[in-house]
Point group: C2
Chain length 529, copies 2
């Protein structure tokens, strides 16, 4: 039987996959197949891609930072030129609104990220250039040996796509070739990105193996992929279950793997804030929780309240808002089933359903906007089960008896990407804040005040990371340039190296006059004196 | 039977260990017991120490950087005051020369390291303070949640000691309490350090659980130690075998573990350099290889040569120097047996013994200075077996047929801490260097020219790290302040946090006027404008 599946991009050509199966993406609104067929690749495809990436990784040593920057910029331009196809395809594959999400927000975020990465490649701001003159020892971060495997998530078809998202931008800007593993929720979108990335790489003279794409593998092949002797590192965003399978394989052979696994992003709303502006906060909560049908890594999955009369009226208000808000479409039947199962698991351990709790209510794959409630004591009896992520338009209100119990609950939180505390403007929550914040602070990558967590600005100080199990390591971020590049880099030290053999960034003369370097402990754009 | 073993330091007191056994350290020169008895701790001791450290980790949130700095400095002063006891004990336990090694070199290195760490705690140079004014997002590195477990190696009783070495200094300066696991080669030295550290912590008002000490555990307890839910991270320097056991346990539960495992530190000596200054290089090689009886992490375990007449005469010269050099004492019977076994393994896969190869020749536990040789083709037939570390006064010369084979050999190297290339001053090796250096560069953490790797300066640009399996991650260093602190830290982001609730380092006003912060992409010591 001829291979009807879409070709993969390996070693500089679109070629038939070596398949062990195929899959048919589904339009989540119509629940019908999109009509395209995609391959499940065998280990042969993975092997070929990894070997090619390893060669490209060597070739990239001779490509200037400026060329890498030009590639990223050219690619961003091409994405904008191909905007209509991308939006159309992503809409069919994910059901995300064309204007208010895909074209209006996610596409500019994506091209902006690529352009910021280009700038980081050019100004080497990520490399932490360090020079000690007395000992003549110099160091910097530089690309890894071998390509970077990127497993993108289902929920951001543009901004976290394996072939256009934050991990891609970071890995390329740090000087590494990328092998993208598409998410099965949007293979067509990923294919269009890869077409444009590949063309941009040719136009700017990047090695042919800089960008490669496969669509899916089984678990065994996935494990061999991330643990391949020639792979440099892996970036993975997705389910905790699949991520931990890959982590185990990579850890065993000492290959770096950066994981974003799951997060319930607790939001504590303190009594004074509720007294002061309950409705405003309920609106912010509703918007944040239902944004993208709740399919955000930073979706507020738990709100923590302290029992008093304001709490009940707040929950009544939230309940009504959840019931009246339109129900969005979920990304796939899998997401729907996980969400339904997650809600069932929560009620199974004592959470009370305030509103929602049934499939349907929207177009295609959908599930009612769902709010659950549990008492603080119940939560503390079963903290692990009650903080399992139910990915989607759902949240669990935890109502603590008092301040002490709220602290205990906070102490029981696993590692999360974010944690928020809403407090009164008049200072009436300040003492409570001071007791709670130090506990929450260390459980999360990003702490917020009076702001829901779903906005993730792409700025240097952003941390989209957090303690395990939200990610695999508390010291790295996947959003925020230049810091996100450090994941795909090694520390290189030069000891007594003759000056003409040093990378130009580490020679006495600042090659551009604008690179920031730490010379003898002082940050400067000057030369070594 | 009363517990005669030395007490452990847990929860602010020296108390009898909960033991599952005991051990008797040996003087390596006399091969006699030192007379002291040390406990092998049960899980109960570990549990108590980890819980205490977790509490101390919380208490340390309220301790200023200045106090942490004062503690480290006070401790350095106390080490100097206790110098005689330390040198005497370490000499008995390790046989290292009192003046030329312990008192003259390693002690000042240790106190210097502690004082540099104090300075880093004070100036927050390690925290990468980052502020984005437009979005009001700010971030920094800060201490982990939970204590840091430190497993020190046998070979540096002062400078890498669990309770005084680089990992200790880094973990404390980053704001973490430490639980030291002494190395069995020098428990008495470690005990004296812990006595002084504990006193210094009391004098400076640090929490009682800041410094704790146990001496030994079995493997099962060690695994539970590094994977304990309340532990923050682990620093380990030692054998690859034991390290990988701990790594697997820590990885499984997502606990960071930083490992320094083994390294053969290849040194390529190019033909022009040999023609120009063979004897000088042979002397440098001899000194480096036999330093500390070869018991350095950066000991040159492989020299790579390219066959010609200069090679043979160089090896003859080296052979003679190895034969005539005094034979040092090894740290323990275990080290001796490993070295003997390592040499046997190398000859078993075809290495030819040029000189040495027998136990004895020095005082106490000793093994002849040993040089082996293997052809490039033989090496390439069995690259893994021929780059197993034989820790001690031993090195393997690999003689390549030609330049191409030298490149192939370099490509086959595993990850190492260091790699060196010696080249002629007259430029005659330059083309060869340009072919070899890019390959070697990515196999090692530190690349050197015309210099042996055994000196590891404690300066900001130092990288004492490298790709797996030399360490567990290519992005971190265990020497070099402030960079070494980043291992024991999490990235903390503050989003829309009211200014008075921010850490003082991240408020608009630079609290000291001297902190380096990156504000909107520019490094500055100024305020937010």
């Amino acid at each position: 039987m001829p291979n009807q599946a879409q070709p993969v991009l390996i070693a500089g050509e679109w070629r038939p996959a070596d398949t062990v199966g195929e899959f048919h993406p589904t339009n989540p609104q119509t629940k019908q197949p999109t009509g395209e067929i995609y391959p499940v690749s065998s280990i042969k495809d993975v092997e070929a891609a990894v070997v090619t990436a390893s060669e490209a990784s060597e070739q990239l040593l001779n490509v200037s930072p400026e060329t890498k920057a030009q590639f990223l910029e050219q690619y961003a331009d091409r994405i904008e030129a191909r905007r209509e196809d991308l939006v159309e395809m992503a809409h069919n594959e994910t059901s995300y609104p064309k204007e208010t999400r895909l074209n209006g927000i996610e596409l500019p975020r994506t091209t902006n990220q690529l352009r910021q990465a280009a700038q980081a490649a050019r100004d080497q701001s990520w490399a932490l250039l360090t020079i000690d003159t007395e000992t003549d020892i110099r160091s910097m971060y530089a690309a890894l040996e071998g390509g970077v495997a990127i497993f993108g998530p289902n929920n951001f078809p543009f901004a976290f796509n394996s072939i256009s998202g934050g991990d891609f931008a970071a890995a390329i800007a740090a000087g590494n070739p990328v092998i993208g593993k598409a998410n099965s929720s949007h293979p067509g979108t990923t294919r269009i990105f890869a077409e444009e990335a590949f063309e941009a790489s040719r136009e700017t003279g990047m090695p042919d193996g800089t960008v490669q794409l496969i669509y899916r593998t089984d678990h065994e092949v996935g494990k061999r992929f991330v643990s391949h002797p020639l792979i440099g590192a892996t970036g993975y965003t997705g389910s905790r279950r699949a991520g931990l399978v890959l982590k185990e394989a990579a850890d065993k052979v000492g290959k770096p793997i950066y994981l974003e696994l799951s997060s319930i992003n607790p939001v504590a709303i303190l009594p004074g804030a509720l007294r002061e502006r309950a409705e405003e906060i309920a609106d912010e909560f509703l918007t944040s929780c239902l944004l993208g049908t709740g399919q955000f890594c930073t979706n507020p999955g738990i709100i923590l309240l302290i029992k008093d009369e304001a709490t009940d009226s707040f929950l009544d208000m939230a309940k009504e808002k959840f019931a009246n808000a339109p129900v969005g479409t979920l990304l796939s039947e899998g997401v729907l089933n996980n969400l339904a199962g997650g809600v069932e698991a929560l009620t199974g351990v004592g959470a009370e359903l305030l509103v929602g709790g049934e499939s349907g209510g929207g177009i295609g794959f959908s599930y009612q906007n769902t709010l659950l409630q549990v008492s603080g004591s119940q939560f503390l009896e079963n903290p692990q089960a009650l903080q399992q992520e139910a990915f989607g338009n759902e949240s669990l209100a935890v109502v603590a008896d008092d301040v002490e119990q709220a602290k205990e609950i906070t102490s029981s939180f696993e590692g999360n990407l974010t944690g928020c505390i809403y407090t009164a403007q008049d200072g009436s929550d300040d003492a409570l804040y001071d007791g709670l914040a130090p506990i929450l602070r260390r459980k999360v990558g990003r702490l917020l005040n009076d702001k829901m967590p779903t906005g993730v600005a792409v700025v240097p100080a952003m941390n989209h990371g957090g303690p395990y199990p939200s990610t695999g390591h508390p010291g790295f971020t996947s959003v925020g340039i230049p810091a996100s590049l450090l994941r795909f880099a090694m520390l290189q030290c030069f000891d007594n190296i003759r000056e003409h053999r040093l990378p130009s960034e580490l020679r006495d003369k600042n090659p551009t006059g604008t690179l920031w370097r730490q010379i003898d402990g002082e940050w400067t754009q000057g030369d070594v004196k």
